[in-house]
């Protein structure tokens, strides 16, 4: 079987595998927000950036090849991933103290795992209206990280086409494919894959917030993995 090396550990792969797919299957953890094993890769979040032959590249879109030396756990990558996470935080309104996804949010656990204590940049404070038109679901665009998981899940798993990405640059945002552009008039249903795949608190079920006691949420029960040795924990 062919193999590449992740931080020195051999990882077997099949033809066509990405670094991310093979590493995940072998039980390794590469940080990511926009990748999902059932969906085509997107390369949007950049958190799975690894070093291959001295170059930074996204593990989710890079094909595995024989004997490749891949670094996933270095102080440099931790610093880079922390900066990416800070950019995601300042881009939206991530006020965790009032978010019902807090404790079970993948953006938040990513930041915890990177030892992120501050925001570093000025906040953009977007003011996009909340869409509460759907009977069972609601959408806060100000928490959306544009991972496109809902878009891809709707298209690839549900056979629907509920979401799209529109706008350019800093004005890019998630669009709903409906005559009025709102969830309530779309084909989205509460049991769709797309309705459950949001990694943050953007697309949420109605009437089910704050259901898990503090102490039993993901972040309470799963300590973050250790940071690479001489990583700077300080305010970077």
């Amino acid at each position: 079987m062919k193999q590449f090396f992740l931080d020195g550990a051999p990882v077997p792969f099949e033809d066509g595998d990405t670094l991310m797919a093979a590493a995940t299957r072998a039980g390794h953890q590469v940080p990511h927000l926009c990748w999902h094993p059932q969906l085509a890769p997107s390369g949007a979040c950049r958190l799975c950036t690894v070093q291959v032959d001295g170059r930074m590249t996204a593990a989710c879109t890079t094909r595995a090849s024989e004997g490749l030396e891949v670094h996933n756990h270095t102080p440099e990558l931790t610093a880079l991933r922390r900066q990416i996470t800070q950019m995601l935080f300042v881009e939206g309104n991530h006020y965790c103290p009032g978010c019902e996804k807090s404790g079970n949010c993948e953006l938040q656990s990513t930041a915890y795992a990177l030892g992120m204590a501050d925001m570093r940049h000025d906040l953009l404070m977007p003011q996009r209206p909340v869409d509460a038109s759907h009977p069972d679901l609601w959408l806060d665009h100000n928490r959306c990280i544009l991972c496109k998981l809902c878009l891809r899940a709707s298209r690839e798993l549900d056979g629907k086409d509920v979401f799209a990405i529109g706008g350019y640059g800093a004005h890019t945002q998630l669009l709903v494919n409906a005559p009025d552009g709102r969830l309530g008039a779309s084909a989205l249903q509460a049991d769709d894959h797309a309705a459950h795949i949001c990694p943050v608190g953007a697309l949420l079920p109605k009437r089910r917030g704050f259901a898990i006691p503090i102490g039993q949420r993901h972040c309470d029960t799963t300590p973050p993995p250790p940071l690479p040795q001489d990583a700077d924990h300080g305010p970077t």
Partner: protein, 191 residues
């Protein structure tokens, strides 16, 4: 960026610490008090300067300034700048100081509309003729709530709403010992 080394407190001189709440809820100060009997240990090493817990009116030269709350009005900005001028190590304590916190949810609304809604507009419960307070004694609200680091340089951040007593103790303990404070990733919470 590497945070500056706090000046280690020389033997015999207690660490001078000032604290203040800007657009805060005083919850971070309560979390500081949650270190409980360790406050007595701390009292042996720390001298409080201006703080809601003392009667000192102006912040003097300090080793550490602990600031909770973001910036929501003109007086907040003035006090923050005074703290920055006096404190070697300025610390943003809690979610509000770090990203504006829940008070920043007002940023989606026009501040004039907000004031009118609360103080005027014939709102039920208000006496007839009630109007937005306009005495110059009162600090004007800013158009938006801001985190501290958008106005002055911040040396250290203690996230949480509020940060746990453990996080605050770890920080103060490290500074009293003359070490560079370093966040324990396992204790970081934003909520």
């Amino acid at each position: 960026m590497v945070p500056p080394e706090p000046s280690p407190s020389p033997a015999g001189r207690p660490l001078r610490v000032a604290t203040v709440s800007l657009a805060g809820c005083f919850g971070c100060h309560m979390s500081l008090l949650d270190i409980d009997e360790r406050l007595f240990t701390l009292a042996g090493h720390v001298q409080l300067d201006r703080s809601p817990l003392t009667d000192i009116k102006r912040c003097g030269p300090c080793d550490v300034g602990l600031i909770e709350g973001g910036l929501c009005n003109a007086e907040n900005v003035e006090v923050l700048r005074a703290f920055r001028a006096q404190c070697t190590l300025l610390v943003a304590v809690g979610a509000c100081a770090i990203n504006g916190g829940l008070p920043a949810l007002r940023n989606g609304l026009d501040v004039g509309t907000l004031m009118t809604e609360v103080y005027a507009n014939n709102r039920p419960g208000l006496a007839p003729g009630s109007a937005i307070p306009n005495d110059p004694e009162l600090p004007l609200p800013l158009a938006r709530v801001h985190p501290l680091h958008e106005v002055v340089h911040i040396d250290h951040f203690l996230p949480g709403c509020p940060p746990s007593a453990e996080v605050i103790w770890d920080f103060l303990h490290a500074v009293v010992q003359g070490h560079r404070p370093q966040a324990d990733p396992a204790l970081i919470r934003y909520d």
